[in-house]
């Protein structure tokens, strides 16, 4: 592995690791707030137990999210100094606001986790909500920074110089809104399905049914809302990309030839040498419609893009297919669940329904990772779209490969421990909280 690839792999690994904890850190406080609210309103002790059990889980995720985030803020410089030298002052605005958001989050978390029975109960509840709101705010802000890499704004690029910098314009670049909406929904879906699935599993095992049913209902509510909105937001993102980053769109769709009435390619194996896709299902005109809202519009293909400016097609295409496929599956589960709630309440405790949710535990997170792969690999070879190449940004220090191996080891062991800890938390629910 050469150092450049190692640097990219290390960055991808660190981000891919962090995002899981970030998603949970952003969404779980809202789940807790709902359960906590129900406890305060109904006085049903089970809700208090659910809140407490979740908050212990969240503490584990928070710590891991915080350290992996700290690592990232150094890694940007350690791996991509040339990029940070120029980009720092331009896209730094969200990061400086994010600092505030993190701080508030950390403070509110201190209040929340250690504040049981110490404060006015509504003050305590509010601190929990503040944890969620500031987490969400920081998520939106970082995504705005990433959106700037996809859609650079707020400076003039003249003869290799970055002039007339305006960090506010840079923050509100063209891509931030579509990416931020899609990301928030993604955390809702991913966290919702994962948590609902875990509790469904426990119900199936016949353990602490009341406890897990209440927890399941709250998580499933979030999952369902998110899953229904997500495809709309995804379509909004895709239309946006069709305008701003035609190369990324073409790679996502494995669309090699510029044409009118472009076909939507589903599945298949893209062959980058021969510029064709084998074994795919093609729906004529559908791509034109999805990208531009008109079955006959022309869609730019990879042939319009110089070979050296093309992203890797196969990875981006597969990742996109995975995300969309999982999105559709989760949408179907969500619709089914709604239908059952509405018409067939008696199906609610059917084992197959619970099993369906168990099967969907990883789906949201796989979709998140796949979606980021589309965004990030689809931007290649650029680190700042159209301005700076990733290869020009990498650190001059040799030996990054070793650093990549070390971080891989660290992240793998952390993942193992976190899973073990969660397993123990769930297993101990009976002892710690639920007497039923």
């Amino acid at each position: 592995m050469d150092d450049f690839i190692a640097a990219r792999a290390q960055m991808a690994l660190s981000l891919g690791f962090h995002i899981i904890f970030a998603c949970i850190g952003m969404m779980m406080p809202f789940f807790m707030a709902v359960a906590h609210y129900k406890w305060l309103k109904t006085g049903d002790i089970t809700y208090k137990n659910v809140t407490k059990a979740w908050s212990r889980g969240v503490a584990i995720f928070f710590a891991t999210g915080a350290v992996s985030g700290t690592v990232l803020s150094f890694e940007l410089g350690l791996l991509w100094p040339e990029f940070m030298k120029h980009a720092g002052p331009i896209f730094g605005m969200p990061f400086s606001l994010e600092g505030t958001a993190f701080f508030i989050e950390a403070i509110a978390l201190g209040f929340y986790l250690y504040g049981w029975n110490r404060f006015n109960k509504w003050f305590h509840w509010i601190t929990g909500v503040v944890v969620g709101v500031s987490g969400l705010a920081s998520g939106i802000l970082v995504v705005a920074a990433n959106a700037w890499m996809n859609s650079p704004a707020g400076f003039d690029f003249v003869n290799g110089q970055y002039l007339n910098i305006n960090p506010i314009t840079a923050m509100f670049n063209d891509a931030w809104l579509s990416q931020a909406i899609h990301m928030i929904l993604a955390t809702t879906v991913a966290t919702g399905f994962a948590v609902a699935g875990v509790h469904a599993l426990m119900i199936l095992k016949g353990k602490n049914i009341i406890f897990h049913t209440k927890a399941f209902q709250i998580a499933a509510l979030f999952a369902v809302i998110g899953a229904i909105l997500q495809p709309f937001s995804g379509d909004f993102s895709a239309k946006d990309i069709a305008k701003r980053q035609p190369a990324k769109l073409a790679a996502m769709e494995a669309h090699f030839k510029t044409e009118e009435r472009a076909a939507l390619i589903i599945g298949g194996i893209p062959d980058e040498e021969k510029e064709t896709v084998r074994y795919a299902v093609k729906i004529p005109g559908a791509l034109s419609f999805l990208a531009h809202g008109d079955f006959n519009k022309e869609v730019t293909g990879l042939d319009a893009i110089a070979k050296k400016d093309r992203p890797p097609v196969a990875i981006v295409h597969y990742a996109f297919q995975v995300m969309v496929m999982l999105g559709v599956l989760m949408l179907l589960i969500a619709l089914l669940y709604l239908f059952i709630l509405w018409r067939k309440k008696s199906w609610l405790d059917k084992r197959w329904l619970l099993k369906l949710f168990v099967a969907a535990i990883p789906a949201g997170f796989i979709a998140v990772e796949a979606g980021w792969t589309v965004t990030e690999v689809g931007r290649q070879p650029w680190i700042i779209h159209g301005i700076m190449r990733t290869a020009d940004a990498v650190t001059p220090m040799p030996g990054i490969v070793y650093s990549f191996y070390i971080f891989t080891g660290v992240y793998v062991s952390l993942s193992v421990i976190v899973i073990l800890l969660l397993y123990r938390q769930v297993k101990m629910v009976g002892k710690l909280y639920d007497k039923s």
Partner: protein, 335 residues
């Protein structure tokens, strides 16, 4: 505007040394406790730092963000030449933060507790050691941007006797701050006495480490004496810090916890003033070339302006709530 940003940078470094330092110190004290008293030390410390530990480390992130947004050349110079110690420090931060939380939130208390504790203790020493090494390398001019060999550019930029000595000094300062801080958090007399003893040991260790730093600076021709005694302000700061040591020892005997905290905080602050005053506005000294000054290396004026506004706006939110957090969980209200 640039001065506001610089002030924030300085303040967040100071607060990180004080609060993050005390936090690291908790692990360092555990490290230097006998097996028997470790358990006790740990419980007292967990109660003291649990609610605030996450906030303590935010200062580092604030400092880093100010650097990369406001002073990208300085940030990237450090990232390139100090890559290795920064990476080790990061690994320390990962190990420490996760071990601390896992230890408390593992639902089953078994053999793994020992692993968490060991990890926590070792990383509590390694992380500030490397923070000190990084700081020592930045000020002492060991970074050589003209280096052509791997070792000159990426190893000897930080692996110098002086940086190591500064690292050791940092570790002792952290332990010292923690011991003083925790005295005020203890309830029983025995615990108090124990941490008073630890404070004494740690302050002696810090003095020895400081002597080591001076000795090496002398041997290596690093103008440390000039930095500390070259101007009136620095001399005054150092003099005050040393003088207050005596006061501190007296207070240690009388166990005046509030006063002790103020003195310890003031000593560290004075030292930071002393060392930065002479360097100002240079943040990084380089080998055989002009140092990197904060005043010459900042990002565009618009960036600095919005950064300053963001920092001020942030403080309005953060400071009151942070004080309330510290106040709420200080030992007084616990009752």
């Amino acid at each position: 505007m640039i001065y506001i940003v610089m002030a924030y940078l300085w303040a967040s470094v100071l607060l990180y040394i004080l609060m993050g330092g005390a936090d690291f110190g908790a692990g360092i004290l555990e490290f230097f406790s006998t097996r028997k008293s470790q358990e006790r030390t740990r419980t007292v410390m967990y109660r003291a730092i649990g609610p605030i530990w996450e906030a303590n480390h935010m200062w580092l992130i604030i400092a880093i963000v100010i650097l990369f947004v406001g002073f990208p050349v300085i940030y990237t110079t450090m990232s390139v030449y100090l890559h290795i110690p920064l990476t080790i420090m990061l690994l320390g931060i990962i190990a420490r933060g996760t071990a601390f939380t896992f230890r408390n939130y593992d639902a089953v208390k078994d053999q793994l507790q020992v692993v968490y504790s060991k990890t926590f203790m070792y990383s509590s020493v390694i992380t500030p050691l490397f923070l000190g090494i990084i700081a020592g390398s930045a000020v002492s001019g060991s970074i050589n941007p003209k280096a052509t060999h791997f070792a000159d550019a990426y190893i000897f930029s930080w692996l110098t006797p002086f940086s190591l000595a500064v690292g050791i000094f940092t570790v002792t300062i952290c332990g010292f701050l923690a011991a003083i801080f925790i005295i005020g958090e203890t309830k029983s007399e025995t615990d108090k006495t124990r941490f008073v003893k630890k404070s004494k040991h740690m302050s002696i260790a810090a003095l020895l480490a400081a002597a080591l730093v001076f000795a090496i600076a002398f041997l290596e021709d690093i103008p440390l004496t000039h930095w500390l005694f070259g101007n009136a302000v620095s001399v005054a700061c150092v003099a005050l810090a040393v003088a207050s040591l005596i006061w501190m020892w007296v207070s240690l005997f009388t166990k005046q916890t509030k006063l002790l905290r103020v003195i310890a905080g003031a000593q560290v602050t004075l030292l930071l003033v002393a060392i930065t005053y002479e360097h100002y506005p240079v943040l990084i000294n380089l080998k055989d070339s002009e140092g990197l000054s904060l005043l010459d290396n900042y990002g565009s004026p618009k960036t600095i302006q919005s950064l300053a506004v963001a920092l001020i706006a942030g403080s309005i939110f953060i400071l009151p709530s942070l004080f309330y957090l510290l106040y709420s969980f200080s030992n007084k209200r616990e009752a």
